[in-house]
């Protein structure tokens, strides 16, 4: 009872109510959040936020859980933070993801996001699926999954990553609690974490500049030639490193960055071990290099064939005989004709 009073008197402003809603997700972002070192998950609950609903870890289940959700929305309208993890499937009216049953009827993720979104103080899209669609929205997108922003008519703060780094989400939540909305980039990602490209922060940048490249995973050089997406990916992995203890990151583990914080991930980043994504024409799929090679071969063969034709028909010889002046060529022709006539007569 005391707690409730304190909240109503404004103490909740210090520890705002937060809803962690899981939609079409692997739950990897929540497991990553659990890896946060300081603050840990416990300090997050006691010092930073008032967790009202957590699709993965809450004690309640069934209608009790959904009632908690409903009460939060009623009690804290305009004050709670909605964190959505996962993309939102739209196929079959959202039935491809059900978050629970209310009075025996399925509540879809689509419905939940649309109902919870408008009343939230902030909406945070946690992970690449929620922010941009992610792996489940990759072609042919069997579940018709879309990002959170696509079903909400209000600003959404995107905190992508597959999974998100614990610091990225914890830092974003801390910013929201302490200082309000962080400065966002053009894809609504907090600049605090996504300002710079992996490539510009990479410890192996000098190998790139000097042209020293790994030719297979496991080698200690620049991963550019085996498809590293560092140059086109905005995140601070090289500085921050994974996970809670900041020990390593994919390039340090001698593998390419696969661009998991980018809007095009993974569709625009696959094949992961190729520099450029596949080229898809109606009914045909090939690699960018395939197009390059085909263009090279066609150009080479066409010019070769034309050259052969020009030599065989004497056109090339004619060109050189004519020389640099049309008039000169005429003169040569005239003298040739004269010579011929003489020899005939």
């Amino acid at each position: 009872m005391k707690k409730q009073e304190a909240e109503e008197n404004g103490a909740a402003e210090i520890r705002p109510p937060v809803i962690f809603l899981g939609t079409n997700t692997c739950a990897g972002d929540m497991f990553s959040l659990l890896n946060s070192l300081a603050p840990g998950y416990r300090e997050m609950l006691t010092d930073l936020i008032d967790c009202r609903y957590n699709y993965l870890l809450m004690a309640a289940e069934g209608e009790m859980a959904l009632n908690a959700l409903e009460e939060t929305v009623k009690q804290f309208s305009g004050r709670y933070i909605l964190v959505v993890e996962g993309s939102v499937p739209t196929r079959s009216n959202g039935l491809y993801c059900v978050i629970g049953y209310k009075n025996g009827r399925a509540v879809t993720a689509l419905q939940a996001v649309r109902e919870l979104g408008p009343g939230a103080r902030y909406v945070v899209a946690l992970g690449t699926c929620a922010a941009f669609g992610g792996p489940y929205a990759a072609a042919p997108n069997p579940s018709g999954s879309v990002p959170v922003q696509a079903v909400l008519d209000r600003p959404v703060i995107n905190v992508p990553g597959c999974p998100v780094h614990p610091d990225w989400i914890m830092g974003t939540l801390a910013h929201l609690v302490l200082y309000g909305e962080p400065e966002l980039d053009d894809f609504n990602r907090p600049k605090l974490f996504y300002r710079e490209t992996i490539h510009n922060l990479c410890q192996r940048r000098h190998y790139f500049d000097s042209g020293i490249f790994a030719s297979k995973p496991g080698e200690p050089w620049c991963m550019y030639k085996i498809g590293c997406k560092g140059p086109v990916t905005h995140a601070d992995c090289p500085n921050r490193q994974w996970s809670g203890e900041h020990l390593s990151w994919p390039v340090k583990a001698n593998t390419p960055c696969i661009g998991c914080t980018s809007p095009e991930f993974p569709e625009g980043d696959m094949p992961f071990f190729e520099h450029l994504p596949d080229v898809k024409l109606p009914g045909i799929r090939t690699t960018a290099d395939g197009v390059g090679k085909a263009a090279g071969i066609i150009t080479f063969l066409s010019i070769g064939a034309h050259l052969a034709g020009a030599i065989l028909t004497g056109r090339l010889a004619h060109t050189f005989k004519k020389g640099f002046s049309e008039k000169g060529a005429g003169k040569i022709k005239d003298s040739l004709r004269k010579l011929l006539r003489k020899s005939v007569s």
Partner: protein, 468 residues
């Protein structure tokens, strides 16, 4: 006869739903529903086979490294390569560290809230008010261990980071082996953390499990079913994968059998999929159909020689011969803890076998036409990836996950899945707070995120693949 629908059922690595029918305070019928669908196999078609490990990692956030391992095994099977000794050890260590993480988080974060009164703090509130039997002292100790387990499971994930760059969805799992050459600093960092983890397992987790088993003795009699168990075996002993630390095998009608993967069939009658039922996963072709009459789950019903098989730590230890007390809810929990202890010790051995300076990765060319299978054990049971490569790209990919085995709906002839069967006869004291049902279900370590992606559409996509 009251029917209750429980959904969401959290603490199951994402959400599942259950429909149970209760008569005379006992469950007389149960239906398990996988509530979401993603379609990974369909997304994989036409992709570079080397991408399969990194993409399939993303099926599941808690057991991602297992999908990476299975995909790498399938690719290696197709390409006819094996990782070098170090590569095999690195992969075992990553897989094992992630398993410790899973088991510790499962016991403390997922299971415990069913038995213990949590602190007055969201998301431990609201919670059921009945069913907590532990005296306050023990209860408080377990709550403290809940938070300690958060630290220790984080350490398990840091082990994966050391060998794989990041976690979840680690990068160090590839067809061909590992990518981080073992060196003194990494081995030292690994072993120091592993010691802390093993200390916790032996001195906290094992006693806690027995404390719980003592207080909830009746759960040795709840959630029972006959031993129909399956394990694909995991942790290859040598780089040639002739033997595994946890051997493959099956228990049918209480008799041990050799594993024959060709006996696996996928039934579809009660799943939201159209297509031919009863096919082997290497051939299975289905498409989602949410409006299908009579169906009630996104999970398919895999059957082994026509039987609903249970997988997980209990099945593995049973087949290995380490634990054969019985098959019940409490046996499942105890076996999980004992397996955690066992794997933690094995990891110390493997760490000592690493050879700094020796290769970790075997380079290989992706074959133009090939087939491969990757069978291994996820934390919660048997996991199989089946792959066919045509023209250098993935032509067919099928995944049968452990939760499809454990949490499967009824099959074509109406036999229930293992969880459905185990739930029968479960006493429910208070229909408004069916805490007993959750205990039975969670002991299986149900993971809906990995079970509900299993789909390949009807006709193959008409697409010509041209690779230089």
């Amino acid at each position: 006869m009251p029917k209750i629908m429980i959904g969401p059922v959290p603490r199951a690595n994402n959400v599942v739903a259950l429909e149970v029918t209760i008569e005379n305070k006992k469950v007389v019928d149960a239906r398990c529903t996988g509530v979401f669908f993603r379609g990974f196999e369909l997304i994989l078609r036409g992709r570079d086979p080397r991408d399969a490990p990194y993409l399939t990692l993303r099926i599941c956030g808690i057991c991602s490294s297992v999908h990476g391992t299975a995909a790498a095994l399938a690719l290696e099977d197709a390409a006819g390569v094996r990782p070098p000794k170090n590569g095999n050890l690195l992969r075992n260590l990553i897989h094992a560290a992630d398993t410790l993480q899973n088991h510790i988080r499962h016991f403390y974060l997922f299971s415990l809230p069913d038995y213990v009164k949590g602190p007055d703090l969201g998301p431990f509130r609201p919670a059921y008010t009945t069913g907590c039997r532990l005296p306050p002292k023990d209860n408080d100790a377990l709550v403290q261990h809940y938070f300690q387990a958060l630290e220790i499971s984080r350490l398990c994930h840091e082990l994966v980071v050391l060998l794989g760059g990041k976690v979840p969805h680690t990068h160090g799992l590839l067809g061909g082996g590992g990518t981080v050459p073992p060196a003194a600093d990494i081995i030292m960092g690994f072993s120091a953390r592993l010691r802390k983890i093993n200390d916790f397992i032996q001195n906290v987790m094992v006693p806690d499990t027995y404390l719980l088993a003592e207080a909830y003795k009746d759960y040795y009699e709840i959630g029972k079913r006959a031993p129909a168990l399956l394990s694909y075996g995991h942790f290859p002993r040598g780089e040639n994968d002739r033997e595994r630390h946890f051997p493959p095998g099956a228990m049918v009608d209480g008799r041990p059998e050799k594993l024959d993967a060709s006996l696996i069939r996928e039934h579809l009658r009660f799943s939201w999929y159209a297509g031919e039922s009863g096919l082997h996963p290497a051939r299975g072709r289905t498409e989602p159909d949410r409006e299908k009459e009579g169906a009630y789950s996104w999970v398919k019903a895999p059957r082994y020689n026509g039987r609903a098989m249970e997988g997980g730590p209990l099945a593995r230890l049973w087949i290995r011969g380490d634990y054969r007390r019985g098959i019940s809810t409490m046996d499942r929990l105890v076996a999980r803890t004992l397996e955690t202890e066992l794997i933690g010790k094995l990891m110390e051995e493997w760490l000592g076998e690493l050879e700094p300076g020796k290769p970790v990765f075997t380079p290989f060319n992706v074959p133009r036409e090939a087939e491969g299978a990757g069978l291994t054990e996820a934390m919660r049971g048997p996991l199989g990836h089946w792959l066919r490569i045509e023209k250098g790209r993935i032509a067919h990919y099928q995944i049968v996950t452990p939760t499809a085995w454990n949490f499967s709906p009824r099959d074509d002839v109406g036999r229930p899945g293992p969880v459905e069967e185990a739930l029968l006869g479960t006493p429910v004291e208070n229909e408004m707070e069916p805490v007993e049902v959750g205990r039975v279900v969670r002991a299986f370590d149900v993971c809906s995120t990995c079970s509900t992606h299993v789909i390949v559409p009807g006709g193959p996509a008409k697409e010509m693949i041209i690779l230089p």
